[in-house]
C-alpha cells in the first residue's frame, strides 16, 4: 500500500500536467500546422498537413508592409521595454524603501491606470496625437506603451525589492558606497531576476498590443506586425489569407521565445539566499 500511494499520486499529477500542456500547446501547434499547409488543403481539418509547403512563409516576406512592420514592432517594443524597466526600477525602489507622503495615493493611481479600459482612451489619444504631431510615429506608440507597462513594472519590481534585506544597503553605505553606488552594485544585481521578469512581461505586452497599434498608426512608417497581419489580403478578393496569417503568427512568436530563453538564464531563483542568516 505504502508503495502504491505515492505512485498513484505521481500518475495523477502527470495526467493533470499533460492536460494543462496540451490545452496550452494545441492551438499553437494548430497554427504551425496551418502555416505549412498548401492553399487547397488549408481547410481540410487535418492536424498533420498532407502536403507541406514553405510558400506561406515566402509569401509574407514578399509583402513590404510585413517586413517594415516587423522592424517597427521590434524597435518600438525594445525601446518601450528599456524605458519602462528603467523608470519602473527606480519608482519601485522608492516605493519599497522610502516612506513619503502620498505613497499610497501614488500606488493607487498607478493601479488605476492598469485597470483603466484601454478602449476608452483610444479616441482621446487619437485626437491628442494628431494635434501634437505624434500620430503614426514611433513615439506615438512608445508613450502609451510605457504608460500602461509602468504599473505592471512597478508592481512586479517593488515586490522583488521588498525581498532584499535592507541591511545590505546599510552595509554598502558603511563600506563607503554613495547611495547611487549602493543601488547600482548591490541592489540592482540582487533585483536582477525581478528586472528580467519585468522586462519579459513588458516586452510581451508591447509586442502583442493590437488596439493602440491599429488606432494610432496608419502607414508602414510605424505600423507594427500585429496590424500588418490584420491587413493581409488573399491572392484574389475572395481568397482567405489564412496560410499567410498563420505563417506570420508563427514568426511573431519567435522573438518572444528568443527573448524569454535569453533572459531565463538570468532568472536564477534564490539569488538573495545567503545574504542574511537563512
Amino acid at each position: 500500500m505504502t508503495a502504491t500511494a505515492p505512485a498513484n499520486k505521481k500518475v495523477g499529477w502527470s495526467v493533470i500536467n499533460l492536460i494543462v500542456i496540451l490545452y496550452a500547446l494545441i492551438p499553437v501547434l494548430w497554427i504551425v500546422s496551418l502555416s505549412f499547409k498548401t492553399a487547397d488543403t488549408i481547410s481540410d481539418g487535418n492536424f498533420i498537413p498532407r502536403s507541406w509547403t514553405w510558400s506561406n512563409y515566402a509569401q509574407i516576406f514578399q509583402i513590404d508592409l510585413f517586413t517594415s512592420a516587423l522592424r517597427n514592432s521590434i524597435g518600438i517594443a525594445i525601446i518601450s521595454t528599456v524605458i519602462a524597466v528603467v523608470i519602473g526600477t527606480m519608482a519601485a525602489y522608492a516605493i519599497a524603501r522610502l516612506d513619503f507622503p502620498g505613497k499610497k495615493a501614488l500606488v493607487g493611481v498607478s493601479l488605476l491606470i492598469a485597470m483603466f479600459p484601454q478602449i476608452s482612451l483610444v479616441s482621446p489619444l487619437f485626437d491628442i496625437e494628431r494635434a501634437v504631431g505624434l500620430f503614426d510615429t514611433w513615439p506615438g506608440l512608445i508613450l502609451p506603451y510605457i504608460t500602461f507597462a509602468l504599473p505592471l513594472a512597478i508592481y512586479t519590481l517593488s515586490a522583488f525589492f521588498r525581498e532584499i534585506p535592507w541591511e545590505l544597503e546599510k552595509a554598502a553605505k558603511m563600506d563607503g558606497a554613495t547611495p547611487l553606488q549602493a543601488f547600482r552594485s548591490v541592489i540592482v544585481p540582487l533585483a536582477a531576476p525581478g528586472v528580467f521578469t519585468t522586462a519579459i512581461l513588458v516586452f510581451i505586452f508591447c509586442w502583442n498590443d493590437f488596439l493602440f497599434a491599429v488606432s494610432l498608426t496608419s502607414t508602414s512608417r510605424s505600423q507594427t506586425a500585429t496590424v500588418a497581419i490584420s491587413q493581409f489580403t488573399g491572392a484574389s478578393q475572395f481568397a482567405e489569407p489564412t496560410g499567410s496569417i498563420a505563417a506570420a503568427a508563427v514568426l511573431l512568436t519567435i522573438p518572444i521565445i528568443i527573448f524569454v530563453l535569453f533572459f531565463q538564464r538570468r532568472i536564477v531563483a534564490g539569488l538573495t539566499s545567503g545574504a542574511v542568516k537563512g
Binding site: K173, G176, A177
Partner: protein, 399 residues
C-alpha cells in the same frame, strides 16, 4: 584608530519618543566598549547614530576629535558588522571582503594583498571563491568580520554579531572577537543584549535602559558596585536576589529574618539619609550553607533557616532555590527586568531566593536548611529611585 565621544547626544523620533536621552560616553582610542541592555533600550539606536545610519537629533558626536554629526557613513571611516552579517550574496567571499577597498578605489593588486591577509587572520583562505549562500553561519560571520577589518577603519561597530550563532559556536567566536580586537587594537563598540557577552568581552560596559545610560564601568565594577537596581539585576547570572527590608533602630528586618548590619553600611545609610523601607540586594554566591561556614566567619553574617524548594547540583557548586515568605521587592526597575526576562507572568518566577552553596553542603530538597548570609557584601537600594545607597561610587550613581 581614534577615540569616539558622544557629547549629550539625543535621538528624538517624530512621535516624540526618545531613542537616546542625553547619552554621554567617552570611548578611548583602542578601547573595547559594550553597549548592553534589554531590547528597546536604545543601544542599537546609539550604535546607528555613531555609524551615521540614523540622524542625531541633538548633541555632538566626535570621532578622532572632529565633529561628524553631518557626515555620511562613508565619510566617517568606520566599519560595521551586522547581526544578520549582511553579506552581498551575488559576490564571492573575496569580492565581499574587497568591496570596501574597491569603493575606495584601491588598485587590484593592493586589494588582493589585503584580502588575502585578512582571510589568513580569519582562517578563510580556502573559502575565498565561495559564495555566502554555501557557507555555514560561523563562516559567514567571519566573512562579515573580514569585510570590516580589510580597510583598517578608525573604529569597528558590531551590532549583536554573535546572536545568530548556536551556543557553542558563540563561545568560540567570542574568544575570536576578543583576540582579534586585541591584535588590531582598533576602537570597538559592541552592542549586545547578552550580559555574559558583555562581561567577558568588554574593557568597559555601558548599561542602558529606555534610552538612558544607567552606568558605565568595567565589568567587575558593575558587578560589585551597581549604581541602581536595574544594573544590579541585569548584570550577573543567576541574578542578584532582592528582598524588601525595613530599617529599625539601627537593625535590618527582612523576610529572611533580622540581618546583621555591618558598621560601614550603617554609616553610609545614615549619611545618605536612607528611607525606612528599603530593598536589600544579595548575590547568590554571598550565601552559604551554615554548616560549612567556618566559625570565625559566622559572626560577620546572619543565619536564617528556610525550606529548600529546588536543589541543582552543578558538581562544583550547588544552587539552592528557596521560597521567600512575605512580600516581594517591588520597584519599577525590577518590574522592567522581569518583563524583559519574561519571568513576570511565571508563577513564583521572582519570589525565589537563589543561592550558590558549596558542594559540601548537606542541603536537601524539601528539607529545611540553615543558610548563612555574608551581610558585609549586601547592597541596599532605595525602592523609589532604585539608586544603590551603599554604592561607594557616587560619581556614576547618577550618570
Amino acid at each position: 584608530m581614534a577615540d569616539i565621544v558622544l557629547d549629550h547626544v539625543y535621538k528624538r523620533y517624530p512621535d516624540g519618543t526618545l531613542g537616546a536621552d542625553d547619552v554621554n560616553i567617552e570611548i578611548a582610542d583602542g578601547e573595547f566598549i559594550i553597549l548592553v541592555g534589554p531590547s528597546g533600550c536604545g543601544k542599537s539606536t546609539t550604535l546607528n547614530m555613531i555609524a551615521g545610519l540614523e540622524d542625531i537629533s541633538d548633541g555632538e558626536l566626535r570621532i578622532g576629535g572632529t565633529r561628524v554629526n553631518e557626515k555620511a557613513p562613508k565619510d566617517r571611516d568606520i566599519a560595521m558588522v551586522f547581526q544578520s552579517y549582511a553579506l552581498y550574496p551575488h559576490m564571492t567571499v573575496r569580492e565581499n571582503m574587497g568591496f570596501p577597498l574597491k569603493l575606495a578605489k584601491w588598485s587590484k593588486a593592493d586589494i588582493d594583498k589585503k584580502v588575502t591577509e585578512a582571510a589568513e587572520i580569519l582562517d578563510l583562505t580556502q573559502h575565498l571563491d565561495r559564495k555566502p549562500a554555501n557557507m555555514s553561519g560561523g563562516q559567514r560571520q567571519r566573512v562579515a568580520m573580514g569585510r570590516a577589518i580589510v580597510r583598517s577603519p578608525k573604529a569597528f561597530l558590531m551590532d549583536e554579531p554573535l546572536s545568530n550563532l548556536d551556543a557553542k559556536l558563540r563561545v568560540q567566536m567570542r574568544t575570536m572577537v576578543s583576540k582579534l580586537q586585541q591584535r588590531l587594537e582598533t576602537t570597538t563598540v559592541y552592542v549586545t543584549h547578552d550580559q555574559t557577552e558583555a562581561m567577558t568581552l568588554g574593557d568597559r560596559i555601558v548599561v542602558m535602559k529606555s534610552g538612558v545610560v544607567q552606568q558605565i564601568g568595567s565589568p567587575q565594577h558593575l558587578y560589585d558596585q551597581p549604581a541602581n537596581l536595574f544594573v544590579a539585576g541585569f548584570i550577573g547570572s543567576p541574578s542578584m536576589n532582592f528582598v524588601p527590608g525595613t530599617l529599625e533602630n539601627g537593625g535590618l528586618r527582612t523576610s529572611l529574618g533580622n540581618l546583621r548590619m555591618p558598621d560601614h553600611i550603617r554609616r553610609v545609610l545614615e549619611a545618605a539619609d536612607a528611607p525606612r523601607e528599603i530593598i536589600v540586594g544579595i548575590r547568590p554566591e554571598h550565601f552559604e550553607d551554615a554548616g560549612v561556614v567556618e566559625d570565625h566567619l559566622r559572626d560577620t553574617g546572619s543565619v536564617f533557616s528556610a525550606e529548600v524548594d529546588v536543589l541543582e547540583s552543578m558538581g562544583s557548586d550547588k544552587f539552592a532555590y528557596f521560597k521567600i515568605e512575605g512580600e516581594r521587592a517591588m520597584s519599577d526597575d525590577l518590574a522592567q527586568l522581569e518583563a524583559d526576562a519574561g519571568t513576570a507572568d511565571v508563577p513564583d518566577g521572582g519570589g525565589q531566593l537563589v543561592t550558590r552553596l558549596s558542594a559540601a553542603s548537606t542541603a536537601r530538597e524539601g528539607q529545611s536548611s540553615e543558610v548563612w548570609v555574608d551581610t558585609d557584601k549586601m547592597q541596599i537600594f532605595d525602592p523609589h529611585s532604585g539608586a544603590n545607597l551603599t554604592s561607594r561610587d557616587p560619581a556614576t550613581a547618577n550618570a
